[in-house]
């Protein structure tokens, strides 16, 4: 799968679960890998690009989660 497509899938997954259930990095790797048959390391690389670009961020609340940054 193209990396951009993977990034879109990850972003939408995080977007959909916002406000319902906070996702951990490992939740995302497991789900996207299982649903789309891609290796976890590929998902991880795509997620990292989203993080480095600031489109997704890590948050902490009694555990570390992946979320969309709050709009200022």
């Amino acid at each position: 799968m193209e990396k951009d497509e993977l990034k879109k899938i990850i972003y939408e997954l995080v977007e959909k679960s916002m406000g319902k259930k906070k996702l951990k990095q490992s939740d995302i790797l497991k789900k996207v890998s299982a649903d789309h048959g891609v290796d976890k390391s590929e998902v991880k690389a795509a997620l990292r690009e989203l993080m480095d670009a600031g489109e997704l961020i890590f948050t902490y609340f009694g555990g570390s989660f992946v979320e969309i940054p709050p709009k200022e």
Partner: protein, 394 residues
């Protein structure tokens, strides 16, 4: 600069012989608005007997999910200088050795961008830079990382590994703690900076069973140096201890937990087969006794503080592992443990708690470790044990 707030309660703690943290905050307050308002806020806590810090928030440096602890005051209008007061965790060098040049460099960065207050060091081992604003985080990170410093761990990640000083200045070091710690830290940079675990994972490396780094109590994985073979004895030095007034019978022989030492007034004998390597005799007769020559480590797993279901100490999972670079055997074991924890662990569940929940036998089987008597204090007391398919007659 005069102090902005009256602090009669804190001023009381400037008195007395022990070095005063209040004096430290006041020194920083000479040139830092953060420290000025920290004094005011802290005085309020001393008066009201309650903390004035709120829960953490969403702050960090780009791409990392660790290394910065967000902190906000619940009385920002009263003390605007500490409205934001985030902590930056800087990964300490193994063994906590520094040159003054390196320390001054960190101080200069911190004076420019933060409160001028630090912890040398935090509980886990990092250099703690205590208190700055959100907008200063990226500049601090750029200044630090361009000078070869990186951030430590926080959140559900590998926490900054730490160790005793080991071979650097201790004759009891059975393993090169500083090298191992540095290698672990470098090997797991991604796992430190981008939290991916159910909860935190700490490594601590101790050179011997004296455990000056408290690894058995404070690390998910405790790596404790040990040896095989005979304790090396210098009989002349034993005699010197006797002549200089040590009661060898009472202080050494009678205090040996395995009763494997004898002393007839001229020769000290150790039945090494019965020795459990507790280190008492070696620590008390440092000139006369030395650990055996085949060195390695015992790997223990699982310790944590009492939250949530009670404190755990690490227990043995590998009785003896050779510890030589590139430490592949260790990394391979760690990877298998993490995979298992990632598969089964719940949010905020430490690896030790997971083993308690699913059972140690299941852990051993899944991770591929063979059971050995060294892993338990005693075998089970109850008659309720599992068999697998292949153990049962068809």
């Amino acid at each position: 600069m005069s102090m902005k707030h009256q602090t009669p309660l804190l001023d009381e703690l400037e008195k007395g012989p022990f070095p005063s943290f209040v004096k430290e905050i006041k020194r920083a307050a000479e040139h830092s608005d953060y420290a000025q308002d920290l004094l005011g806020l802290l005085e309020l806590s001393y008066k009201e007997k309650v903390t004035h810090w709120k829960h953490g928030g969403i702050v960090g440096v780009r791409g990392y999910g660790a290394g910065v602890i967000g902190r906000y005051s619940d009385v920002p209008d009263q003390f605007p200088g500490v409205a934001h007061f985030h902590t930056v965790r800087v990964n300490q060098p193994s063994g906590f050795f520094y040159t003054t040049k390196a320390l001054r460099e960190i101080c200069d960065i911190w004076d420019k961008y933060g409160s001028g207050l630090t912890n040398m060091h935090g509980s886990t081992g990092d250099i703690i830079l205590l208190g700055t604003k959100t907008e200063n985080l990226e500049p601090i990170f750029a200044e630090l990382s361009s000078r070869d410093w990186d951030l430590g761990g926080s959140g559900s990640a590998v926490r900054t590994p730490s160790c005793c000083l080991g071979a650097a200045r201790c004759e009891w070091a059975n393993i090169d703690t500083m090298s191992i710690t540095n290698e672990i830290t470098q090997h797991y940079q991604d796992e430190m900076h981008r939290p991916a675990f159910p909860y935190k994972f700490k490594f601590k490396v101790a050179g011997c069973a004296v455990d000056c780094i408290a690894s058995i109590a404070r690390a998910d994985m405790s790596i404790i140096g040990t040896w095989r073979g005979d304790i090396q004895i210098d009989q002349n030095e034993v005699k010197n201890y006797a002549q200089s007034g040590m009661d060898i019978q009472k202080e050494i022989v009678d205090m040996c937990p395995t009763e494997c030492i004898s002393w007839d007034g001229s020769e000290l004998k150790i039945n090494n087969e019965d020795c459990n390597r507790c280190m008492h005799c070696i620590a008390k007769m440092t000139k006369a006794l030395r650990p055996g020559s085949e060195k390695g480590a015992t790997i223990l797993l699982g310790s944590k503080a009492p939250i949530v279901t009670g404190a755990l100490m690490s227990w043995v999972i590998v009785p003896f592992m050779k510890m030589e670079p590139p430490y592949d055997e260790l990394f391979d074991l760690v990877d298998r443990i993490w995979e298992w924890w990632d598969e089964h662990g719940k949010n905020r569940e430490r690896v030790g708690e997971l083993i308690e929940r699913l059972s140690f036998t299941r852990f051993l089987k899944d991770v591929g470790l063979d059971p050995q008597p060294a892993m338990v204090k005693e075998p089970r007391r109850d008659p309720f044990f599992f068999w697998s398919e292949e153990d049962v007659a068809k």
